[in-house]
């Protein structure tokens, strides 16, 4: 199976994390590493852009859960943007829209922090 590519871009006080490819038990640590860096740097206004994510497994979804409490305790949040329909279906079945704000556009998600 293919891997995942994780990139980050800082837009003033907000950090956008881009995930590309396949997020599962094997690739989740790469995403965890970036979120841990952000928490350590107190950059907790986070938007995760999933436009190029083709698959997410339960272990991938678990990464969001593993960090959200710490991030919200620090006054930040994880907002999710630009999911493909197939990926949204996985989030939706699990009930994630109750727990996370989900946006069609990255700019709209960034705007929520302003």
């Amino acid at each position: 199976m293919s891997g995942v590519e994780v990139r980050r871009k800082d837009v003033q006080e907000v950090t956008v994390v881009y995930l590309k490819g396949y997020l599962d038990a094997h690739t989740a640590p790469e995403f965890e590493k970036v979120l841990q860096e952000l928490v350590d740097q107190d950059r907790v206004n986070i938007v995760v852009n999933l436009a190029e994510l083709t698959y997410i497994s339960s272990a991938g979804l678990g990464v969001f859960m593993g960090f959200i409490e710490d991030i919200r305790k620090k006054g930040g949040d994880i907002k999710i943007a630009e999911m493909a329909d197939k990926v949204f279906r996985v989030f939706d079945l699990l009930g994630f829209p109750v727990l996370y704000e989900i946006f069609k556009d990255e700019s709209e998600a960034i705007g929520k922090y302003r």
């Binding site: 339960s58 272990a59 678990g62 079945l93 699990l94 009930g95 727990l99």
Partner: protein, 240 residues
């Protein structure tokens, strides 16, 4: 895996069949059937997040907890809330479980269930099939107050010959050589075309079609299937 039921009980008028195809990397799928009394049979199917030993241990522990809770509570919603309390206190924050908890009363042919973040239930009737997808968060994701608001009790009154189909996401996420997923649409077509089959044949047909689709590609997630089918009235009358 011996954590799954060795055999399912034989119950009059009811065909029950379950199957778990494990992935190379052990997943956390499980199912169980708990016969509580003559008029109450509980069925649970779930998927513990993650892979490997940790998912398997969590699954085993959960199975024991559910067996105990089923004897103390009646309502699927109450049982699921207790399971959530357990997961929140015992599992890591990044671990969660999706589940359908269903309770069947043969005297009323009535199935009550809740869906907690799990794939929907297929209701296969003589003339057509439909998906039952009630609201409900996965377990371990939020505290009981939030979870309770999200959970919807569902009730279906079955007719003779009806079947309910439960499965885990490994089925729709099974891939072929081109990387294409089996998907919900293909599954709906398959379930519809084979509506008349008995529970055992139904499962075999699904297994065959998925195998034909994946053409030997390694499974990256467990696949669990459970079918509960009521006998046709005619055969029941003949038997009595």
């Amino acid at each position: 895996m011996r954590l799954l039921p060795r055999t399912l009980p034989l119950l009059p008028g009811l065909q029950l069949k379950g199957l778990c195809l494990t992935a190379n990397d052990i997943g956390g799928d499980f199912y169980d059937l708990i016969v509580l009394d003559e008029d109450r049979i509980d069925l649970v199917i779930g998927d513990v997040s993650g892979k490997g030993a940790s998912a398997a241990f969590n699954m085993a522990e959960l199975k024991g907890v559910i067996q105990g809770l089923a004897r103390h509570f009646r309502e699927p919603k109450d049982i699921v809330l207790e399971i959530n309390r357990f997961i929140r206190s015992q599992f890591e924050p990044d671990e969660f479980v999706t589940m359908i908890y269903a309770s069947y009363r043969p005297s009323e042919r009535e199935m009550r269930f809740v869906r907690a973040g799990h794939t929907p239930v297929g209701w296969i009737r003589t003339e057509k099939m439909e998906w039952l997808e009630s609201g409900g968060l996965g377990l371990g994701l939020a505290d009981n107050e939030v979870l309770e608001k999200s959970l919807e009790n569902r009730l279906c009154r079955l007719s003779p010959g009806d079947a309910l189909f439960f499965f885990t996401d490994g089925l729709i996420e099974a891939r072929n050589r081109a990387g294409e997923e089996f998907g919900e649409e293909r599954l709906t077509g398959l379930l519809n075309r084979n509506r008349g089959l008995g529970a055992a044949d139904y499962l075999s047909r699904i297994q065959d079609e998925v195998a034909a689709f994946t053409q030997g590609m390694p499974r990256h997630d467990d696949i669990t299937l459970v079918v509960l089918k009521l006998d046709e009235k005619r055969s029941k009358e003949k038997a009595s």
